[in-house]
């Protein structure tokens, strides 16, 4: 289990030269010690921050280091082998089977000379990890929301088991599937040592499963321990809403 980390120095982002900063001067260190959750109100720059971590947005100011190296200095394929991304709302249609979609994650490793067998094994492993064996031949179009999300996570894992970034992975799912997805992510993080970062709006789910918090507020981005963040005062000030909470099984639960 190698240590993976982001080291972010003085990160600022604005959409163009005339616009106000979406966030400014963020200094954050992310390590693979449990699920890292990004919280914040709509429009506070959560998703933008995640895309910067993914290397998808490169017009930021400041520095982002992944394992000690500037993220912008990685080649495309090298970066793809390091980081995989799961976007919000996998509810679009891809006319391929589950296995074929997961297999797309092999792209950075493939070349025209390479025997497909080796790559197929990677695909099978990812399928097994997400327990998708039984539906692996099904067309993606016919899947339920939860199955689709799991397929996209499997694709991401096939691509990289170093860092996986997920934009609201549970937002369109029922309670059942939300918990299942979070348990999978927890397992990946704890057992496989994957650096898991999620953007989420579900404070109680985060309270239960995440181990550290990054939150966007007051035009910048902060980092916090979970215990420190999960208090009525903090949540109220970040989300500008009155909350009540109680502790159940050692985890704080919030009511709005």
């Amino acid at each position: 289990m190698s240590l993976k980390s982001y080291n972010i120095k003085d990160l600022s982002f604005r959409w163009n030269r005339k616009a106000d900063y979406l966030f400014k001067g963020a200094n954050i260190v992310i390590k693979n010690t449990g699920i890292v959750a990004i919280l914040g109100r709509n429009g506070s720059g959560k998703t933008t921050f995640l895309k910067i971590l993914a290397g998808l947005k490169r017009d930021y100011e400041g520095e982002v280091f992944l394992d000690g190296r500037d993220i912008r200095s990685y080649g495309r394929l090298d970066l793809a082998k390091k980081i995989s991304f799961v976007e919000q709302n996998a509810n679009y249609n891809i006319p391929l089977s589950v296995w074929d979609i997961v297999n797309l994650g092999n792209y950075p490793y493939s070349n025209i000379y390479k025997e497909d067998k080796q790559l197929s094994r990677r695909t099978d492993d990812a399928i097994k990890l997400l327990e998708l064996d039984e539906i692996s031949d099904k067309p993606f179009t016919n899947l339920s929301g939860g199955e689709k999300q799991k397929t996209m996570i499997a694709r991401a894992l096939c691509q990289s088991q170093n860092v996986i970034l997920l934009d609201e992975p549970t937002s369109s799912l029922d309670i059942n599937n939300r918990v299942e997805i979070m348990k999978i992510l927890e397992k990946l993080s704890v057992e496989k040592g994957v650096l898991v970062v999620i953007v989420s709006h579900d404070i109680n789910l985060v309270s239960k499963y995440a181990s550290s918090i990054i939150y966007a507020s007051d035009k910048t981005i902060y980092q916090s321990d979970k215990e420190e963040f999960m208090t009525d005062e903090k949540i109220s000030s970040v989300f500008n809403i009155k909350t009540y909470s109680s502790v159940f099984n050692g985890k704080r639960i919030f009511y709005f």
């Binding site: 006319p95 391929l96 797309l104 025209i112 691509q159």
Partner: protein, 341 residues
């Protein structure tokens, strides 16, 4: 995968058989043994080879058959790639307006020849320049900044309208003589280029096909959203522009040589998907073969039907046959298999 391989071989055999049969179609009857002997340049089935028959086979029928086969392959591959890249099941090779540009070029050639000159300009270079200038406009738009796929399609459609407006103007000025432009627009294989030109055409198609085939994984990844594709390690703008440029190029050449043959580029990719699933490795091969088969059969019908029925000397435009033949077939398939697009 194995099943798809076998079906591809079957399609290839059907195409080969159809090619041999097509050599037998035409106003002069030549028996099949003699045809095979002429093609192979040996004497196996027939005692002697009639030199006139040889001339008919090699100089009249061979170019035409090659022409329709390559055009069929080109148009269906273009349609397939357009549908994938534009993420639109209704896309076809003419969606972005290159055919309108080419048609306008052809109309200008005919117009200038008729009004100002005593002799006829060759249509090909004019159509080619017309198509290329459309592609140039599109590339300027594409390279300038990130345009969304919808914007791209809208620009393509606007360009089509723009060129069609000029075309309509020219047609109205040509009056009675506009018939020639119209006939060209329907598409025809009746004036095939010479064999060396066809070979060049084929090599061009083959080069594009090989590049696409080697990129089949990337093409599959284009089913994902742009961001996911980008995070998979693909330079999405570069790949998209490259594939659009390559397929537009073969479309322009095809349209400039044989006019606008509709429907092939739209339905053949869908038919391939119904038969082979959606992985590009299978789709590229099957679309090429099915496209070739459809245009070959359509052209066979075009040159035999009317001469049989009317002895009228003119052929049914090929586009009429592809649509008459293709539409009912396609609708049948759509109803039979509900999950298409």
């Amino acid at each position: 995968m194995k099943k798809n391989f076998i079906v591809s071989i079957v399609l290839l055999l059907i195409l080969s058989a159809l090619i041999v049969i097509s050599f037998g179609i035409g106003s002069k009857f030549i028996n099949i043994g003699e045809i095979i002997d002429i093609i192979l340049n040996k004497q196996i089935f027939s005692s002697e080879i009639n030199p006139i028959n040889k001339k008919i086979i090699l100089q009249i029928r061979l170019p035409r058959i090659l022409f329709s086969v390559i055009a069929g392959m080109s148009l269906s591959i273009s349609g397939l790639i357009y549908q994938t890249i534009l993420k639109n099941p209704l896309a076809e090779p003419f969606t972005l307006g290159v055919s309108s540009g080419a048609t306008l070029g052809a109309a200008i050639a005919i117009f200038i020849s008729d009004y100002f000159l005593k002799y006829r300009f060759p249509i090909f270079p004019f159509a080619f320049i017309g198509g290329c200038s459309t592609l140039l406009i599109l590339s300027i738009v594409l390279l300038k900044r990130n345009v969304s796929l919808f914007t791209l399609i809208f620009i393509g459609i606007s360009l089509s309208y723009f060129f069609n407006a000029f075309l309509t103007l020219l047609l109205s000025m040509l009056g009675n003589r506009s018939y020639e432009v119209l006939l060209w627009m329907f598409g025809s294989f009746s004036n095939p280029p010479r064999i060396p030109v066809l070979l060049l055409y084929f090599l061009g198609f083959l080069a594009v096909f090989i590049i696409l085939y080697l990129s089949n994984r990337k093409l599959d990844i284009l089913y994902l959203s742009d961001e996911l594709a980008e995070s998979s390690g693909i330079n999405i703008n570069f790949e998209r522009n490259l594939y659009l440029a390559l397929t537009s190029a073969i479309t322009i050449v095809t349209v400039s040589l044989c006019g606008v043959i509709g429907f092939v580029g739209l339905i053949i990719p869908h038919l391939s998907r119904l038969l082979f699933g959606s992985k590009h490795r299978d789709l590229l091969v099957s679309s090429a073969l099915l496209g070739a088969i459809l245009l070959l059969v359509s052209d066979d019908l075009a040159r035999s039907l009317l001469s049989v029925a009317l002895d009228y000397g003119k052929e049914i435009p090929i586009g009429v046959i592809t649509s008459l033949l293709g539409a009912p077939f396609f609708i049948y398939f759509l109803i039979k298999n509900r999950t298409v697009v």
